[in-house]
């Protein structure tokens, strides 16, 4: 950890673990804001955009992806030791991501079913969010993250205030936008009521149900909602709704696990 004088721009890194790079791309997608950001932050590590490499130390480190290998587990501890403010970005980093569904599965059997030579695969049995390994200072949810939330986070860090990241439901943003509720008016399963806002209610605005890529909201009442969704659906259908990009988040883990186990049992049968 180095002290930073007032005149220096904060040193920012963007790194990834097990993930698809989509969240990092959100930074590049800021387009109009990119030059102003580069004028105010010293982007010392961002393999997605630049071949210049650095090993920190970082004032701010944006970490994408989950911990899926032993190397990554060591790397994230090392990154933490060189970072003042560690921010996890995206569903993989904050809840484990789609790859964390394997956590509920019989991992050796699953590995053998996918790879012809499973002995060459050296991944961990689980894919886990960064916060299960090191202390995280802030998180941006989503698959991918929302550009306006990323900009708000950078602005807040620069100004020195708390970022304004809503903990409300997707429904609240959806109703503000004037959308018609797809669940109530059409019976389309939508996880908006238990999902944290931030996406601008993107899917319901296009007539689709929310699949909770921003993860469970504070105090999500999953047992009640799961029970309601199960009333006129086939057994297991409601479980599968939760087995998505944030299925390993603690609030969703129980139905998501049931869904994965049911799929394995069906495969075995």
């Amino acid at each position: 950890m180095t002290a930073r004088t007032e005149h220096q721009r904060p040193r920012v890194g963007v790194v990834k673990l097990a993930s698809c790079d989509g969240c990092q791309l959100t930074l590049l997608d800021l387009e109009d804001q990119l030059l102003p950001i580069l004028g105010r932050f010293d982007l010392i590590e961002f393999p997605e955009a630049s071949s210049l490499r650095s090993h920190g130390p970082y004032d701010i480190l944006l970490v994408e992806g989950s911990v899926s290998t032993a190397e990554q587990a060591a790397e994230v501890v090392d990154l933490r030791s060189r970072t003042r403010m560690l921010v996890t970005i995206g569903a993989c980093a904050t809840s484990g991501g789609i790859q964390a569904l394997r956590n509920a599965a019989d991992e050796p059997a699953w590995r053998a079913s996918v790879y012809p030579e499973p002995q060459f695969i050296s991944s961990l049995a689980t894919a886990t969010p960064i916060a299960e390994h090191v202390v995280v200072d802030a998180e941006l949810r989503g698959c991918p993250i929302a550009p306006d939330q990323l900009l708000e986070l950078l602005t807040a860090l620069r100004v020195g205030r708390r970022p304004q990241l809503p903990v409300e439901s997707v429904c609240q943003a959806c109703k503000r936008a004037g959308n018609i509720c797809v669940l109530v008016s059409d019976g389309i399963p939508c996880l908006g009521p238990v999902t944290q806002a931030g996406c601008g209610a993107l899917c319901p605005a296009y007539g689709r149900g929310c699949y909770a890529c921003f993860g469970p909201r504070e105090e999500a009442n999953v047992p009640s909602f799961h029970g309601w969704l199960s009333r006129d659906r086939a057994p297991g259908e409601a479980d599968r709704l939760f087995a998505g990009f944030t299925g390993w988040a603690p609030n969703f883990r129980e139905p998501a696990t049931r869904a994965v186990v049911a799929i394995e049992e069906a495969d075995d049968a």
Binding site: R161, E168, C171, R176, V182, E219, W228
Partner: protein, 647 residues
């Protein structure tokens, strides 16, 4: 006697054209995405011709039926989005290179609208929001401008859905006011009557025949059938008190097992008005746009303050919503907050039915009297730039800013009142005024978070935005001729200092004066020099700290220990108490034991405040908005709300 005319079905387009004249946009019900919603229309063909809806708890389905144009229930969302938009700008705050600030408040620019097909419950919703937002004590100018600019063409219901209960709430199905024109749909046209001069003018220009007796009878019969067809009723007699008697009902926890706290009920409610101030700033925080957005008492951040959340549990939030809607709304606005439209039932993702919950929670009782409040103009964006004269550290994390406002309005701040402080780049903060002296406001601010830390880091000469004075201060007049006991905990010494200044200025009007001050440690004591000087002015100062170091020769313990040997039973005394809520509860109990009654014990409460003028709803506690009705209350006013958790 209102003249009833007949508008043939084919002439509805002539009415729409007449409404659209003079540049109005006509807003009516249309079919969109599987439901009926309000949207701009150009002709009668845009209306939901031949559609009807089936609404039930947690379910809405359109279906084909008949060929009428208005055979539908309440649309998915009400007209609120036109009269009280989900997002609207408040002001733009900018800081220049010299540290000055500039505010550019949004100027209301209402669209000229004509609402067509408005149901009785919908009009009732508008009238309830008029009471809340446009009839004082503070007025939302954007709302009032939008309401003034809109025409209302009502259509009385001739059918009712299973979630409708306007008849119970006394708001429909008959349209009895708040309209410019009212229609009742028959198979071949509409019975029409005007409700305003503008409505008269429009109907006169259409040159309609008078309605026949048969048409009038059909119209009345249709509306009567909408009354009898309503589903489950709500027993409203004495409902306010019945509900407030049930704050400890086990049903709240049972509802919370089902409730998702997702806010849908509040978003679709035509009367819910709670908002938050959102902000968006540029990367340097130099320019900040403040905007008002719909918020909800179900959201986790809604009642959160630096020290925690006043309503941490779902059951607290559901109880807040239901008791506000059906009980404390009556105390605040002289009307129920529910109009019986049933939207909260239909659009609840898990089908919670307020009618059922009310019937289980509540038994009959008398209604409470109402209070009239004056009308004061105000806006949550009306900040004025004020210049910092000096910044004086008080403790390691607390400083006093002496600030010169641009005019005398803020200097009229009374002891116990507060101001909203806005710095570009940060959300607004409610701050108690700790002194008014020499043309300046003194604000003692503890760095509890980034915004407060930034405020006390500003240099002399820099500017801040101020709005106020706000709230009800200490009722010093209630203590004249009596002993005065002032009890402060921690930073609570700041809001009582103007009270101390006032009683010392007029020392001979009071009996014995006692200040009991408790701080966490000796280093956390505010105004150390004054604590030493006040005894010379005949103010007895008692001090105690939670934890002491070797240098502290005074008492160690809690503030009630300073008072528990005192007896005021033979002396008329008034007490003023401010500090953490638990400290205030313990202090009030100690003072009561010493003979100071709840009527003469005043406390200053803290809540999450966003607007400061009772329009955003964050600081509600029972029948009160803390910002507007308080923050100072007599303990007797609060009754058993004082000290209750989750309220």
């Amino acid at each position: 006697m209102v003249t009833e005319r007949f508008l043939p079905r084919a002439d509805l387009d002539r009415l729409i054209a007449a409404l659209a004249e003079s540049g109005r946009t006509v807003i009516g019900p249309v079919v969109r995405d599987g439901a009926v919603a309000y949207a701009p229309i150009a002709a009668a063909a845009d209306l939901p011709v031949g559609w009807t809806d089936v609404q039930a708890p947690g379910s809405y389905r359109l279906q084909r039926g008949g060929d009428r144009m208005f055979d539908i229930g309440p649309p998915a969302q009400g007209l609120k989005r036109y009269t009280f938009p989900s997002r609207s700008p408040l002001t733009v705050a900018e800081r220049d290179a010299d540290g000055g600030v500039r505010f550019t408040p949004a100027i209301p620019d209402p669209p000229r609208l004509a609402f067509l097909g408005v149901r009785a419950c919908e009009i009732a919703g508008l009238l309830v929001q008029d009471r809340v937002l446009a009839e004082g004590p503070f007025v939302d100018e954007d709302y009032r401008a939008r309401r003034d600019a809109a025409l209302v063409v009502a259509v009385q219901c001739t059918r009712a859905g299973s979630t409708c209960f306007c008849a119970s709430m006394g708001t429909g199905p008959e349209v009895t006011g708040g309209h410019d024109i009212v229609l009742t749909e028959l198979d071949d046209g509409y019975v029409a009557a005007s409700g305003s001069v503008e409505g008269d003018r429009i109907l006169a220009r259409l040159g309609l025949e008078a309605a026949t007796a048969a048409q009038q009878a059909d119209s009345a019969a249709g509306v009567a059938s909408a009354r009898t067809a309503q589903g489950r009723a709500v027993a409203t007699e004495g409902l306010r008190d019945r509900l407030m008697d049930q704050l400890d009902s086990p049903r709240w926890a049972e509802i919370a097992d089902r409730c998702l706290a997702c806010s849908n009920c509040t978003m679709v409610c035509p009367t819910c008005f709670c908002t938050s101030v959102g902000m968006e700033s540029d990367l340097d925080g130099a320019t900040t746009k403040l905007e008002r957005t719909w918020d909800s008492c179900f959201t986790g951040d809604f009642a959160r303050v630096a020290g925690g959340n006043f309503r941490p549990r779902r059951q607290d939030r559901y109880r807040q919503w239901l008791t506000h809607k059906f009980a404390t709304w009556v105390d605040q606005f002289g009307t129920s907050g529910c109009v019986g439209c049933g939207r909260c039932i239909t659009w609840c993702p898990v089908g919670i039915d307020v009618r059922e919950e009310l019937s289980i929670i509540a038994p009959p009782y008398e209604a409470a009297p109402l209070t009239e409040l004056p009308v004061i103009a105000g806006s949550p964006g009306a900040y004025v730039p004020a210049t910092i004269r000096s910044v004086t550290p008080e403790t390691a994390d607390t400083s006093t800013l002496v600030i010169e406002p641009p005019d005398d309005a803020l200097l009229a701040t009374r002891p116990g009142q507060f101001v909203m402080v806005e710095q570009p780049g940060f959300p607004p903060l409610p701050i108690s005024v700790s002194r008014v002296r020499d043309g300046a406001l003194w604000l003692t601010i503890r760095a509890a978070g980034p915004a407060t830390a930034a405020a006390i880091a500003l240099p002399p000469g820099a500017q801040l935005g101020l709005r106020g004075p706000l709230g009800r201060g200490w009722p010093i007049e209630r203590a004249v001729g009596r002993d005065v006991v002032i009890v402060a905990g921690g930073i609570g010494l700041a809001p009582v200092r103007p009270l101390i200044d006032a009683v010392l200025r007029d020392r001979r009007s009071f009996g014995r004066l006692v200040l009991a001050y408790g701080a966490r440690t000796p280093a956390d004591r505010l105004y150390v020099e004054e604590l030493g000087a006040w005894p010379k002015l005949d103010l007895e100062v008692l001090e105690i700290v939670d934890r002491a170091g070797p240098d502290w020769l005074g008492r160690v313990g809690i503030v009630t220990q300073l008072l528990d040997q005192r007896d005021w039973r033979d002396r008329a005394a008034s007490a003023f108490v401010v500090g953490p809520e638990r400290m205030m509860q313990a202090t009030v109990a100690t003072l009561a034991a010493g003979g100071i009654p709840a009527e003469r014990t005043f406390v200053s409460l803290e809540r999450h405040m966003e607007c400061g003028i009772g329009l955003c709803g964050h600081c509600q506690m029972g029948p009160f908005f803390i910002c507007r009705d308080g923050p100072v209350f007599a303990v007797s006013e609060l009754g058993d709300l004082f000290g209750r958790e989750g309220i």
